[in-house]
């Protein structure tokens, strides 16, 4: 009997939600080509709305020694785990004359927690003190081949991609990080040394692209 009731509840939910679900079942597997190391920064002049109300471009945020781009969002638990390191990374980047910017590419989640108002609230709550822009229709994410949040890209002073991947090797605990990938990459870039680990991977949330 209990199961019957349970099924009825589910069935009711199903009927009520049917219209909302129409068109929601198409193929959605991502087929994204990762920007190869050595590539030139794409779409540097595209204007994007920042949480400050200003419009920013990647070229405008760039520092003398390069640019750090982080595809991020408000809704991914992996971002939430990692974002306590955003200020640390920002400080390291600034100390090395590298600009840093967060881009939110989750176009399909604008009404599910990743709209501009949500971004403003999230930035305030999380204590962001850096540009956080809306990547409309995930245009920049597509050009970068970004697949997840967070997904980090470091460009040198000549706009060449020199590092792509994760912030570090431990989303769960900053105290237990053994390899601080992006710190090492920034410092090696600044010192004019080859970047020893130029590409890393981490688990993260798929970017919520339109049509997915």
């Amino acid at each position: 009997m209990k199961q019957r009731i349970h099924h009825l509840i589910i069935k009711s939910s199903f009927i009520l939600s049917l219209f909302a679900l129409v068109g929601f079942t198409s193929v959605a597997a991502q087929d994204i080509e990762q920007l190869p190391l050595g590539s030139t920064l794409p779409l540097g002049d595209v204007s994007m709305e920042d949480i400050s109300g200003r419009n920013l471009t990647l070229n405008g945020v760039k520092g003398d020694n390069g640019l750090l781009v982080v595809f991020s969002c408000n809704t991914c638990p992996w971002v939430i785990k990692w974002e306590d390191r955003y200020p640390v990374v920002q400080e390291i980047a600034a100390a090395n004359d590298i600009g840093m910017i967060l881009l939110n590419p989750n176009e399909d989640y604008r009404d599910k927690g990743d709209g501009m108002d949500d971004m403003i609230l999230h930035a305030e709550k999380a204590g962001y003190d850096l540009p956080y822009v809306l990547d409309k229709n995930h245009r920049v994410a597509d050009a970068f081949g970004a697949s997840r949040t967070p997904h980090v890209y470091l460009f040198d002073s000549e706009d060449k991609l020199v590092y792509v991947g994760a912030i570090d090797d431990n989303a769960n605990s900053a105290a237990d990080v053994e390899e601080f990938y992006i710190k090492d990459a920034i410092e090696q870039l600044s010192a004019g040394q080859p970047i020893t680990t130029a590409s890393t991977k981490s688990i993260g949330c798929t970017i919520k692209r339109l049509g997915n």
């Binding site: 199903f14 597997a29 994760a166 991977k201």
Partner: protein, 176 residues
């Protein structure tokens, strides 16, 4: 009593909806049967590789990496369970949870709710090595799915959510 957050409730409601939507009504009636198996077993990537390799020469394997916090994962999960109900022992199903440790109980409850009555895995170890060990083609975004043929060769793999027809199409190419 555990209090579910709004996000969790949303996931569970969606779960119910999608369970019906996909026609997944074949979950075992006897939920107690799941208590006899370890639904979520810790496993390193080496252990998972060995487990997958043990079916080489015997039957195809479908590997799905998911997490309770991942909405697309939760949405597609019933499709995969439907395929397991339909094709049974013609393929081996390997679920790997990428949940954080604090969500272990929620993941176990999710598996039980879905009618999973076999051992699945709980990811251990660093992401970079884990991802590389699963597939060079995987960037780390989840859900991630691999369909491996009877000879142990990856037939197809994809990142992101798929629908029932896509899963079935990929599976039929290796079980026939």
């Amino acid at each position: 009593m555990r209090v579910l957050g709004i996000n969790s409730l949303y996931l569970w409601v969606l779960l119910g909806i999608f369970t019906m939507y996909s026609g997944c009504t074949d979950a075992p009636e006897d939920k107690n049967s799941t208590s006899k198996v370890n639904l979520l077993q810790n496993a390193t990537v080496d252990q998972i590789q060995s487990h997958i390799a043990s079916f080489s020469g015997e039957k195809p394997v479908l590997v799905n990496i998911w997490a309770t916090w991942c909405l697309p994962c939760v949405e597609e999960f019933p499709y995969i369970m439907d395929l397991k109900s339909k094709y049974g022992d013609q393929f081996e199903l390997v679920f790997i949870s990428a949940d954080f440790e604090e969500a272990r109980m929620e993941a176990t409850e999710f598996l039980d709710f879905q009618g999973v009555n076999f051992t699945t895995f709980f990811k251990q170890g660093k992401d970079n090595d884990f991802i590389a060990g699963i597939s060079e083609a995987w960037s780390g975004a989840i859900p991630y799915t691999l369909v491996i043929d009877k000879d142990g060769v990856t037939h197809t793999e994809w990142e992101g959510k798929a629908d029932y027809q896509d899963f079935e199409k990929a599976l039929l190419q290796v079980i026939q």
